[in-house]
């Protein structure tokens, strides 16, 4: 058991190289994530937050650098082979679930994350009892609707379900990419609460991208701020606990030499 759960060594990614749309999305990013860390990631538009998450999960291959998970180099692995290590929740509530399949079928897929898909029955009655138990913890009444299609659920319910799916088998790292951004404030708060409970219950190593400064400060034990594809702030431990929005803004302008540019972050 390594102390470091996830390590990025000088990871870079440029999109559309050699064209007018060339964009260096992340630039020599290095990061050590300790086992049990709950890191919030904040930054303006185009800072590279989502690219960082996608690089870790292997949505694309990175140009340079190495990604080490629990001591093993996963840099070259395709996305579906890394999936067993990661639980993921996306910004778009549509992306995390299959709408035309039942709630229990979605959970059954998640329960088999990273395993071979055989010709055994896709869902067993013993599993159903387990899913019912898990769904009850969300306190959304979904345990009574297990055979309904996920397409009938609201955005918030879907995100809560996706969270459950991401943690149904314990992931090495839980990756949340602005997973409350598409929800109304009240629902967002509820989903965040569920997030915190799930993370705390299993002491999950978590990276949570958010555009909300208050949330970034309130949750987690460590905060990372990104700008122009680089990590410009990494605030940890006691210092993180004392952090306020004003302090964060002030630190940002000192380090980056400019004003924080995301209206969304300041207004919400």
């Amino acid at each position: 058991m390594a102390e470091i759960m996830l390590e990025l060594r000088s990871v870079s990614k440029t999109f559309n190289p050699g064209t007018v749309n060339e964009k260096k999305a992340i630039d020599r990013v290095s990061l050590n994530v300790r086992r049990g860390d709950f890191i919030t990631i904040i930054g303006g538009n185009g800072a590279g937050k989502s690219t960082l998450i996608n690089a870790i999960t292997g949505v694309f291959q990175i140009d340079e650098g190495e990604i080490i998970l629990d001591g093993a180099d996963i840099t070259g692995l395709p996305e579906h082979k890394r999936a067993k290590h990661f639980g993921r929740v996306f910004q778009d509530p549509m992306l995390g679930t299959a709408p035309n399949m039942a709630i229990e079928e979605n959970l059954a897929l998640a329960y088999r994350r990273g395993k071979r898909h055989s010709l055994r029955w896709g869902i067993t009655s013993r599993e159903r009892a387990f899913y019912r138990e898990q769904l009850r913890q969300l306190e959304l009444g979904l345990e009574e609707r297990m055979t309904q299609k996920v397409g009938l659920l609201s955005g918030g319910q879907r995100q809560a379900l996706t969270l459950l799916m991401a943690t149904l088998i314990r992931p090495d790292v839980l990756l949340l990419d602005e997973h409350t951004a598409a929800l109304d404030p009240k629902t967002a708060e509820k989903v965040l609460k569920i997030t915190e409970e799930l993370v705390r219950k299993d002491n999950l190593t978590t990276l949570m991208v958010t555009h909300n400064m208050k949330n970034a400060i309130e949750y987690g034990n460590r905060l990372i701020m990104m700008n122009d594809g680089r990590i410009i702030l990494d605030i940890d431990g006691e210092e993180k606990k004392k952090l306020t929005v004003e302090m964060l803004l002030e630190k940002f302008s000192r380090v980056s030499g400019s004003e924080f540019t995301s209206d969304r972050a300041l207004l919400s």
């Binding site: 999960t57 949505v59 395709p78 996305e79 579906h80 082979k81 999936a83 067993k84 990661f86 993921r88 996306f90 549509m94 992306l95 995390g96 679930t97 299959a98 709408p99 035309n100 399949m101 079928e105 979605n106 059954a108 897929l109 998640a110 088999r112 994350r113 990273g114 395993k115 898909h117 055989s118 010709l119 055994r120 029955w121 896709g122 869902i123 799916m165």
Partner: protein
Amino acid sequence: MLDTLLAGVCQGLIWAVLALGVYISFRILDFADLTCEGCITLGASISALLIWKELNPFLSVLVAFLAGSIAGTVTGLLNTKLKIPPILSGILTMISLYSINIHIMSLATGTGGTANLSLLTFRGNTAYAQVASLLGLGRVYSSLIFGVVVVLAVSGVLYWFFGTELGCAIRATGANATMCRSQGINTDLTKLCGLALSNGLIATSGALLCQYQNYADVNMGVGSIIIGLASIIIGETLFMKFQNFYMKLTGVILGAVIYRVVVAFVIYSGMPSTDLKIMTAGIVTVALALPTIQKSIASSRLFKKARRRENGRREGGGENG
């Protein structure tokens, strides 16, 4: 009259196998796969060739299924590995199958460029003939029974398969590929499996059709994708209440049978059979356009209602306005 109806049902049961195949690619995988057009002929020509070579006709259907799966796999590889768009991948395979099918049929006659094979000399050695002599029934009723058995077996296997872990993964791939990859599903592989199964069934349907009508023709596949779609859409429109998976498969089968019965009666009533394809295209167009038309009618009604209310308000509160 009754003969027309029964012949329509017999054909419908054969086309139902094709429609189930098209349902897998079109609805489950969300992949508009045109391989179908070449694949049904592939099944027919392989089955015809093997019957010419005096192989067991039932075995020839199985071989046709395998050949169809290979064709589907090729389309899948073009799409997943070479990143060719779905429609184009299907067209490429379809057009290659045209040449391949002629080669297959030429193997039977020994002369190159054979574009059709008749089974008349081997009439007694088709699956339908054998079932008829086995059951001791007339051709029509034995064909009906055989067709029902085949369709029940195929849909039963499909129901089982799409309930398994692999089947669930294939269904999820069509619904949300991003989610699948994040759940560790190799979406390239699930697509290949789905397309192989789909085209296997389409070729099976071709093999049965060839043995039913006693000939294979290189052009018999033209328009078959539209017939498959028409069956699916007729089934979905008429049996909207069918929601769970088995009922949906039943809807597709009934759709195919209804389509074929309608066609049989249209031909019976004297319409030239060459006009069938435009009639089918018309049915599919109307069915596909229906949701859009309904929506635009509904929204124009809403608009009129809103304007009426607006006018009413303006007249009522004119002084303040």
